[in-house]
């Protein structure tokens, strides 16, 4: 891959067009997969012999948790690209990932607590993965708050990006220190795909949901990133042309 091509597609107008063009390639499959996954998970999958129907919340908990972690990594990657190439596109992607990442983190926390209630008898248990999910939420909030408190957009982008990158270096350390500190959570449910510890008819809706969440996420980021970019580039000619084109 050569850099000229990256520059070409990474230029704001091109990125904007690409986003609008391919947005539905993510959103539509995302929705379909989520609907299929919901149906499979909530109706087709048999109830767990231990947890009964309560286990079905994993179809929302696990994808949210996966996405919350990977979204932070994507955000930090975009932040790094933004700092290295001073790319407004990358900064807008990073900035628009933050609120969605935080939302999925929040969702993972809430569903985890709902799951914990029948499982452990209490909504909150100081177990390792819930706790590091909570720390992740703090990292997202730190990024967003830092970005919001610096008035100058360019400065806010760069400062918050430094924080995101430092956060991503620290994330594994935080995660493992919390794991080491206390482990109560049941072992990861599908990490060993070769011999999954849950039955196939329970597993496939989960995988479908994970992919559905992922597609949906990227669809949303396409739109949010493009909107953010439009706001930032409002002085440039391509935005003026675009607006004139679409006014009539």
């Amino acid at each position: 891959m050569n850099f000229k091509r990256i520059y070409k597609y990474g230029s704001p107008p091109n990125y904007f067009r690409l986003c609008l063009k391919y947005e539905n390639w993510f959103t539509v499959p995302g929705f379909l997969l989520i609907i299929i996954g919901c149906y499979g998970g909530l109706f087709l999958a048999p109830p767990d012999y231990q947890m009964g129907d309560a286990f079905r919340i994993i179809y929302f908990h696990v994808p949210s948790a996966y996405l919350s972690m990977s979204a932070y990594a994507y955000m930090a990657l975009a932040a790094l690209v933004g700092i290295v190439w001073r790319s407004n596109v990358a900064f807008s992607v990073a900035k628009s990932i933050a609120p969605f990442g935080a939302s999925f983190t929040f969702l993972a926390l809430v569903t985890g607590m709902l799951w914990g209630k029948p499982m452990w008898g209490t909504a909150w248990v100081w177990d390792a993965r819930l706790t590091s999910e909570f720390i992740l939420l703090l990292l997202y909030l730190g990024y967003m708050l830092l970005h919001a408190s610096i008035r100058e957009q360019k400065k806010a982008d760069r400062a918050a990006s430094v924080l995101a990158i430092v956060g991503v270096i620290n994330l594994p350390i935080i995660h493992y220190s919390v794991v080491w500190w206390n482990t109560l959570h049941q072992a990861s449910t599908i990490s060993k795909l070769s011999s999954p510890s849950i039955a196939g008819e329970m597993l496939w809706p989960l995988l479908v949901m994970i992919f559905g969440y992922g597609f949906f996420f990227w669809g949303v980021i396409c739109r949010a990133g493009a909107t953010e970019l439009l706001k930032r580039e409002k002085r440039s000619n391509w935005v003026k042309e675009y607006v004139e084109e679409h006014q009539s």
Binding site: I135, L138, L139, L141, G142, L145, L146, S149, I150, E152, K154, K155, R158, A159, V162, L163, I165, V166, G167, I169, N170, I173, I174, S177, V178, W180, W181
Partner: protein, 221 residues
Amino acid sequence: MNIYLKIFVREIKVSMKRWSDILTGVIMFVLVALIFPLTVGSDQMFLIKIIGPVMLLSALLASLISMQNIFKPDFLNGSLEQLTLSHHSLNGLVLMKILSYWATSSLPLVAVSVFIASTYYVTGTSLIAVVITVLLASTTLVNITALAAALTLSVRYPGALMTLILFPLSLPILIFGSKAIEYSIVGIDSSGPFYFLTGMMLLSFSLGPIATAFAIRISLD
């Protein structure tokens, strides 16, 4: 004399003249640590159990209350600009500032921690373990603090923001520091947590000044 050494000496000298800032951190450290025996009672077994987290929490709060002092005065009087515009490595200069800040803000805490730990009935080798833990943890803490301070230089009221940045990043230090103290008091082999703290110290001193210097350039923009 080497330029970096000169800057280090200058920073120490300036901090000595701003002695009230140093004192603020120490007072915070002592007060937080003394609140626990005064509120939860002076039961020896219990105090020995909580000494680890108390030490690290007090150190965290002390660095939080004095963290503005590391770059803000220089930011306001313009000498930070001059530092950035010198032809010496900014990373090196920032490292010197961090080291001198550590020497003036954290070393007093290390000294005071001996006194605090004895009021918590810690004795013998455990006392040494407490001191070493505070010493090791404060080196990482000072790097994280410096980064958070540099990132928020241009924010007018950065209090809550600094806490939000500082807390998640310093969590591993709090956990392992507490474990190091707990293990050595209980008598389990505590080398694991100590290795971890040392590793974090090296990591934070190798990446911290670079990130902080970069953050300073951003904040001056």
